[in-house]
């Protein structure tokens, strides 16, 4: 086992990278379905290996000191690979029928590897490189939708992201210039809260990650991106990168070099960002008629809850990670259902009203959407409840009851727009006859199956801890 332990931690990433190379090669050799399939399978294998090491391997460095694996880090990576794999599978029909298919799958997989690195590296340099890879992958994935609006959204996303990247590099330069190192362990020993340069670097790094999170005030790109990207792709973009950014912030802030003891104002700033994100995200989401835009604005509100956990400091460490995972699973499920709906109703304009009659037409698909939306609202028996509960417990423990109160009020408001989708699905809609295009029935079913599997995860994750005991959460998320 001495040999297995460090190896098993970097194997998932390697499997995915090899899968991408093989997959793209197969695609180049005109075996498109095979290529996309290889990439999806590689991602699933990676997810399984990570899940195994989450239970079996305690936290240890991997690939030299490149990143940490095992314990909670592997749990997080497992969910990231799972979501990437589901996203690739969900876009199956488009992937095998358009020329960009293999590329989209490949970029998604690369992005997943970068996110694993981002969530677990102990050095600012790889962290920022990984962040930029995730961002670049994001621009590419959005523009892959190949509509005029998606090109516009991708361009805006790119320009705003460029500014954020500038912050990032500047922050890195400041920290390296002052301290001569980028390793967290060394920085943790020498960073001084009184230093203005360190504070400046801290603000820049925080801004860069907040942009990736889509937290207020760096949020304006999110709704456009989610609306215009293909739903299967949006399912990945809305979920996994947020896990990455939140986990990276966890390594830097509550227990890391920018901890509360040294930078008390940072905690305040995060708390204010959390409150502002919840309030503005909710207000924005209430007015939307497009499902993707609504999920975009609601995503802004949702990252606010992650930031609550972050503001709660070390107490909120586990809660923040749990919330990131549960939110990601919920929002990804919603998008996967949207993708499956698109397969069934090619003429769907992406609006919430356009979902009417879905419950009668496809009851299980509608049920998966209900599970996803109620999970995002934070209703018990669904996975999202545990994330929000833990975050609120952390906030109250850290004397941030006011944030918890804003959070629960935000949850109530959120039912206004999540519930509107449910309402629409359960109204009698226009009578649609079998409008699944001939010849794509099987591939349409893949998207549907992905949506149902994701919905099942939402429910099992919600009920499981009741039966297995809450300890299961703390056992899976050891940091």
């Amino acid at each position: 086992m001495e040999f297995v332990t460090p190896t098993v931690l970097w194997i998932p990433g390697a499997v995915v990278l090899i899968g991408v190379v093989v997959g793209l090669a197969a695609e180049a050799a005109k075996h498109r379905a095979l290529g996309v399939g290889v990439i999806a399978v590689a991602l699933m294998v990676a997810a399984v290996v990570c899940a195994w090491s989450a239970v079996k391997v305690s936290i240890s460095p991997a690939f030299g000191w490149m990143f940490l694996g095992g314990g909670g880090f592997s749990t997080v990576a497992s969910v990231v690979y799972l979501l990437a794999g589901l996203s690739v599978a969900s876009g199956w029909r488009r992937a095998i029928s358009t020329s960009r298919g293999g590329t989209v799958a490949g970029i998604t997989a690369l992005s997943a590897v970068a996110i694993q690195l981002l969530t677990s590296t102990l050095d600012l340099l790889p962290a920022i490189l990984a962040l930029e890879v995730v961002a670049l992958a994001g621009y590419a994935l959005v523009s892959a939708a190949a509509s005029r609006r998606s090109d516009e959204a991708a361009l805006r996303y790119f320009v705003q992201g460029g500014v954020a990247a500038g912050f990032t590099v500047l922050g890195l330069a400041v920290i390296y210039g002052v301290y001569g190192t980028t390793g967290y362990v060394r920085l943790f020993e020498i960073v001084d809260g009184g230093s203005r340069a360190a504070a400046f670097g801290m603000v820049l790094v925080l801004a860069a990650f907040a942009f990736k999170l889509g937290a207020v005030p760096f949020h304006s790109w999110a709704p456009d991106v989610y609306e215009t990207a293909d739903a299967s792709v949006a399912g990945f973009l809305a979920s996994a990168p947020k896990i990455g950014a939140l986990m990276a912030l966890l390594l830097l802030f509550p227990a890391g070099m920018f901890n509360e003891g040294r930078f008390p104002t940072a905690t305040l700033a995060i708390a204010v960002m959390a409150a502002a994100s919840i309030i503005l995200g909710n207000l924005g989401a209430l007015r939307q008629s497009s499902l993707g835009r609504m999920l975009g604005y609601s995503g802004i509100a949702q990252v606010g809850y992650g930031l609550i956990g972050l503001a709660a400091g070390v107490t909120g460490y586990q809660a923040t990670a749990l919330f990131a995972l549960t939110y990601a699973v919920g929002v990804a499920t919603a998008f996967f259902v949207a993708e499956a709906v698109r397969e069934r109703r090619p003429g769907w304009d992406g609006s919430i009203g356009g979902l009417s009659g879905l419950a009668a037409e496809a009851p299980f698909l509608a049920a998966a959407m209900v599970a996803a939306l109620l999970s995002l609202t934070g209703i018990p028996l669904l996975i999202g409840f545990w994330g929000k509960l833990f975050v609120f417990v952390a906030a109250v423990s850290a004397d941030l009851t006011w944030l918890a109160v804003i959070g629960v009020i935000g949850s109530v408001v959120s039912f206004g727009y999540y519930g509107a989708v449910i309402r629409s699905m359960y109204t009698r809609g226009v009578e649609t006859e079998e409008n699944i295009p001939a010849g794509t029935r099987f591939s349409g079913r893949v998207a549907c199956a992905v949506a149902l599997v994701a919905g099942l995860i939402v429910v099992v994750g919600g009920v499981g801890p009741l039966i297995a005991g809450l300890d299961v959460i703390s056992r899976l998320l050891v940091f």
Binding site: F392, V393, A404, V408, V412, G419, I467, G469, D471
Partner: protein, 481 residues
Amino acid sequence: MNVLLPIAIPLTGALVVALAGRGESGGARRVSAMFAFATFAVTVYLAFAWNAEGGECIRWVISSAQGLGVLSLAVDGLSLPLVVLTGFLGLIAVLTSWEVHEHAAAHHALLLCLEAAVMTVFLADNVILFYVAWEAVLIPMFFLISVWGHENRRAAAFKFFIYTFAGSALMLVGIITLLVSSPLGSLAGGVTAISADKQTLVFWLLAAGLLVKVPVVPLHTWLPDAHVEAPTAGSIMLAGVLLKMGGYGLLRIALPVAPDAFAAAGPVLAVLGGIGIVYGAILALGQRDLKRLVAYSSVAHMGFMLLAMSTGTRLGIGAAMLIMVSHGVVSGLLFFLVGAIYDRTHTREISRFGGLISQIPVWGGVFVFGALASLGLPGLSGFPGELLSVLEGFGRFGWWIAPIGVGVILGAAYNLYAVRAVAHGEPSAEWQGISDLGVRERLIAASFVVCIVGLGLWPGTVLSVTDAASRVLSMALGGGQ
């Protein structure tokens, strides 16, 4: 294991009905009736088992969980009457939805889910499970209203969800404050008060969620819409057991963890109860829609419950429990009758009825009986609880409770007004030849009548079950007895 059965059976039933009952409605309703009957039988068995064990609390904890096992259940004198009530009304709800043909399997599955969720609320032995079940109740109820309800069902379902969710979100903050300040303890384990400085905050946060459900007057506006728009089975469950969750939560959680705050809040609760009694009766009197009238009468009855509870005495708490059980049965009967007449006439407008007792004598007779039970006629179930409530209220608050007399008179007024306008008077030609209650409906009505008379003649059955628990709670409030 016995304690798990009242949850497991309806849940299994829901699964079976949902998976096997698609297609024709006959199979679905028969299967769900079987499961609902088994659930009711188990709750009755549980009552006997509890009695045989000398009234000790019966617990059950899932064995697979390590450490923080959330799934722990308990039944004691406080929860037992409500568990039996839920079993009874769960069966009735399935029987009343016999004629639901639209997505019958889904309807019955949701009803059984709802029953399981409510059972879990009453049986939960820790606050996390309590909250989980409390919110889980919303999901089936939301769909029951929004899919099978009447004209404005979607808006009503939405309002119901948002109101109760808003209340319970504040309750969640209270529960979290509780979790942070003390370890996760057993709810049925007696009184475990938290430190005095946090009691007021925790109490009012919890009360925010609980009082919306009761409901208390400024927070009651979701109730008439939800009741009126819900299908009959939904109304029966809503009025019969869902409203009891609020009162039960006050006694099960809010009082034991914050007895000082509860005692201090006594006068406030009494005022809220008094407002409910008077205002609920006034609103009921002003209704033109029969179902709405019955719905508002719930506000008034729950006012009596709150008044009884606010006294904090042993008898007062017992009376609160008695009122809850009695109202569960009486409102169940009235909603069943309103549903039955709506099925025949497709209207609930009081002015369009008249002289029904001569046209459909069985329905008319039972309706008069139900209205009399609702106004608190001695010998029927409403009387002992509400009398005790007023007596105990007078003992605690003296003449301050005099305005409630107005409410009592108005209570008689709206019930008799309904009887006169609907059952008596000039028979309306419009409803010539409508059919009277059938065999299935007569059985339902008869079982209600038996319960109402039984509880009216022997209120001691409920009081003796709850007495041990009431004594512990009243002692925690500083009451000597």
